[in-house]
Each structure stands twice: as C-alpha cells, then as structure tokens.
Amino acid sequence: MKTQLSGPPSPSETFEPYETMRPIPLGVLMIAVALALWGVVLLFDNSEAVAIGQAERADVLADQPARSDADGASLFSARCATCHQPNGSGVSGAVPPLAGSPFLAGRAEVPIAILLRGIDGPIRVRDTVYDGHMPSFASVLSDEEIARLVSYLRERFADRPAPVAAEMVTALRGELAGGSGWKGGQELAARLAPELAPQPSFALASRAEADPATMRLVNEGTNGSWACASCHGALGQGSETVPRLAGLPAGYIARQLESYLNGSRRNESMAVVARSLTRQERVALGDYYALLRAPSNARPSLGGDIARGERLVLEGVWDRGIPPCVSCHGPSAFGVAPGFPGLAAQHPAYTASQLAAWVSGERDNAQQKLMNGIARSLDDADRRAVADYLATLPPVPVAATKERADDRR
C-alpha cells in the first residue's frame, strides 16, 4: 500500500475512491445542542401557555354563570341604576323614580311587561309626566333574571316582599312577543293596570313608513350597489363587523355615508354604496334607520374583561386621559343626537375594530378628532373589554318623531 501511494501514479484496477470520515465540525454540534435546548424550553413554554389559556377560559366561564346568577340587587345596580339612580330617585324631568312608583306597587305583571317591551311614550309617575324612552330588556335578560330583578324592585321600592316566579315572566314574554315599546302609560294602563289611569294620552305620531324609494334601497339595492338589508339585516341589527344601525341618530348615519365618500372613513364596500346614493337618499336612509327598533343580537365575543369594560364605560380612566364613554355618548350609551351615536348593543367586533381604526387612521371623521386620542389611550385588552361590555347593554329605544326634524338640519 505504501509503495502505491508514494510511487508514480499507476492506478490500481481495484482502487475504489472513498472519502475519509471527517468529523462534524464542532460549531455545528454546538448549534445542534443549542437548538435542542431551545426546543425543550419551547416545549415547556408552550405547555405552560396551554395551561394558562385553559385556566383563563375556565375563569371566564366561571364568571359567566355568576353574572347570570346575579341576585336582584346586583342586577339593579348593573341594569337600572345608571338611569333610575342607585337610590331609585330617577332624574328630574327625564327618568321617573322607582321609589314609591305605583307601577311597581301594583300587579307584578306591570314592571315585567315594562322590562320586556320598554316604553316609547309619556307616562305619569307620582303626578309628574315623563316623556319616557326605556329600552326593552327582553333580549339581554333571561326570564329568571327578570323575575329576580322585579322581586328585588318591588321589595325595595314598593314594600311588596312576595317574590315573582320566573314562570310568570315566561308566560308574559310569550304573550307580549313581537310588540314594540309601550306607547306610554296609556297603553300600559289599558292593557294591564286600569288602576294606573289616568295616564297622559299619546297621540300615536304617524311613524311614516319610509317612502317606497327608500325601502327599495334598503331591500333591493340599486343598479350599482347592494341592498342595505343584505348586510345590515332586515331590522338593521347587523352582525360581527357589520354595525347595528337601528336606533342610531339620523344625522350620524348620513354623516358616515358622507365620510365614506370623502375618504375620512375608509371602507371600500361602503364607499361603493355611498357613491350610488344621492344626498337626499343618504338623509332618508338615516331617518329610516334612526326609527327602527330591533332587539339586541350582540353578545360579548372577544373574550374581554366585562368588569373592566364596565369601569371604562361608566367611569373612564382619567389619569390616562380617558373620560367615561357615557359622558358624551349619553347615560346607558343611548347616544346624543345628532353627533354622538348610541353604543349600546353594538356588535363587539365592530366596536373594537372601529376603536382600532381610529388609531390606525382608517377612520378619521370624529368631530374635533375627539375619538382619536381616546382610542390611542386604550390598549388591545381595553378595546375588547369595552366592546364586550357594550354588547351586554339593551338596545337604544326609539326616539320620538320630534327628534327627526332636529337631526335633519
């Protein structure tokens, strides 16, 4: 062998070329070891993340029954106190008192019927007339919850300790299904409680059905764009990122359609729609949706912390420059026409995506850029919390026809 290698090249017939075994470079080994270590760490990390995620969801779930198990007192403070006040005193000239109200003292059916359908007209409580707009809680409270709430209200404010059975609510819900808000105390008294009469009369303002041309826009669309109802639903109730329109101020809706046109609110699909509408049609559509009353179909869906959302909406975080939502969007987030839309019962995905859009600049049509700074001060978890909380609120009741003229400007 030695002679073969050292002598002149005379390749052997049997020689097989081969490579010598070269050891793997140390560097590669080190990288392999480091990667393996990383893998192990990731495995632990991931299993921990899974455990945390499951625990958090279990917590959320554990919270939810607590919410639906809420006793009458907490239902009252969460659902009634923002308007009727924690002491049940109401608000002078706007919200009737619960304390000493004959509507609570009489038959239990009366408060149940009010909660189920809301009120859309004047009522007289303790010799004062209130031009009332109360939301319907039918879509946000279960029969059991309404029963607990009414029992609590009657015991606390009318000294009637006898509890109300959920069956009564169920029966009444079936009986009253599909009705719109009570046309003031008059209709209530006539239907359920004659002893509450006399109630202020309510001349049913002829809620002019929108003209046929507007209804065609809503239901069939135009040559160049789609029917409103094909996305926003037959009642304007929306879904996910498609906003609920029912009950939004007419002027606000018309202004949004203009924003799609001038680009201050970016949404290509809506821009197509807005381009196909005349100014009169935009105003007419605003008027139409402002007067629609639709039950809430929104529900918390972003996994937000509802208690945190409630705090942000009702109290704000002043040292971060976040005023409470309700300080401009009105108590119970019903909105203040025409500038400030109602937020109640809006779909969480829509609310959160709009808050994100204020930050990114996709949407920049707030009056005085009021929303821009507020949205920037909210972080991702805040946005989800606020959006989820607002979805638990009852929908905006319908404003009387007199506001229509104001909005139109």
Binding site: G53, G221, G224, E240, S269, G303, A349, A352
Partner: protein, 206 residues
C-alpha cells in the same frame, strides 16, 4: 453508496415516528370530537360551493383559522374568535390554508353576509377594492342581453358594467357564494376545546 440498510431503517423510523406524532396521535385525539355547539353541517349547495372553493384554489391565498388574541389581533379585525379543533368536524379535507395573502375567511359569512356583495366581488374584486390583487372569476358569470326569470344579476358600479346587457351568475358562482355565506364559526367555543394557546402569558389581561 455504503450501508444502505441502516440508512433506510433510520429514515423509515424517522418517518414512522413523525407519522405517529403528527398524524396518528392527533387523529386519535380528535377522532371522537363532537362539533362545536351550534355548528351546522353544510347543505348540498354549500358542499357544491365548497368544491368550487377547492377547485378555484382559494386556499392558496385565504386561510380558515383565526388566531387567538395572544397571537394576532384577528378578533379585532372582525375575523372571529380563535378557531378550535371541533370547528372543523364537517370539513373533509379542511381548508386551513397557510397563506394570508387575502383575509381569513373562516367567518366571512357573518362579516359579509350579502350574497350580492360576494357576487360583485367574485366577478371583479376591483369594482370594490381598487387596490385588490385578487383575481376576478368572470368565467363563473355570463353576459346576457337581459336577465331571464330566476337569473341573479350582479350589481356593478357603472365603470365595470358591460356596454350592453347584464352580468348574471352561473350556478357555480351561486354555490360558491352560498358556501362563503355559510362560513360562520362565531358560536362560543367550549372552554375545554382543543385549540392553540401558543403565546398566552400569565397575568396578561384578556
């Protein structure tokens, strides 16, 4: 080549191990999984539409798997809650997708419920989004001089309308849109559902 046998054995071993861990194991894990509560099976038309979805290669640009809030702001984009395994029980094969050249479509039926919108968009995406890079699918439509009974006419902005006649949808387009409209996985997922929790961190507000 030397030592083919041990090489082959090792290669097959690795393959078998991978199959066990990535295919057989998960299959056992999800085999008996019930659908997410509220999830409906596809209708016959939706299934035909699903075949169109596969045939047109939608999966190459669109995923069907919203991520959790820890991973991506999908919920705030309106793409819906994070998908869980039981959302896919009726999907054979699933259309998860790996590319997000376009948006996730797992809940497109709830955020874009309009049939007419989808028809316009499929015919010519740039009729709505001037910047869209999605291809149009004009061959799923046909031009007619006038719409016959039962024809579905596509609404188009003036600049995309044919000079004369109307664009009507062929059955394939209607099937595909029915499938897209039916994509709705927004029902709440059970807490114990099998899902990806990749980046959950302790103490992080959710």
């Amino acid at each position: 080549m030397n030592r083919i046998l041990p090489l082959g054995v090792i290669a097959l071993g690795i393959l078998a191990f991978a199959t066990l861990m990535l295919v057989i194991g998960p299959a056992i894990q999800i085999k008996s999984m019930a659908p997410t509560p509220g999830l409906a099976n596809y209708s016959a038309q939706e299934l035909r539409g699903r075949e169109q979805y596969v045939a047109q290669g939608c999966v190459y640009c669109h995923s069907q798997q919203p991520r959790s809030a820890d991973q991506a702001p999908d919920a705030e984009r309106g793409w819906g809650r994070a998908a869980v395994a039981s959302d896919y029980v009726y999907d054979r094969p699933h259309q998860l997708g790996t590319m997000r050249t376009g948006p996730d479509l797992f809940n497109v039926g709830t955020r874009l419920p309009s049939r007419d919108w989808h028809l316009t968009h499929l015919y010519q995406p740039r009729a709505i989004f001037a910047w869209s890079i999605m291809p149009g699918y004009p061959y799923l439509f046909e031009r007619k001089s006038r719409a016959g009974p039962g024809d579905v006419v596509v609404s188009l902005p003036a600049e995309h309308r044919p000079a004369e006649g109307v664009i009507v949808a062929k059955p394939a387009a209607l099937d595909l849109v029915a499938y897209l409209q039916g994509l709705d996985h927004t029902n709440p997922a059970p807490a114990r559902a099998v899902r990806d929790d990749g980046y959950s961190e302790r103490g992080e507000p959710r």
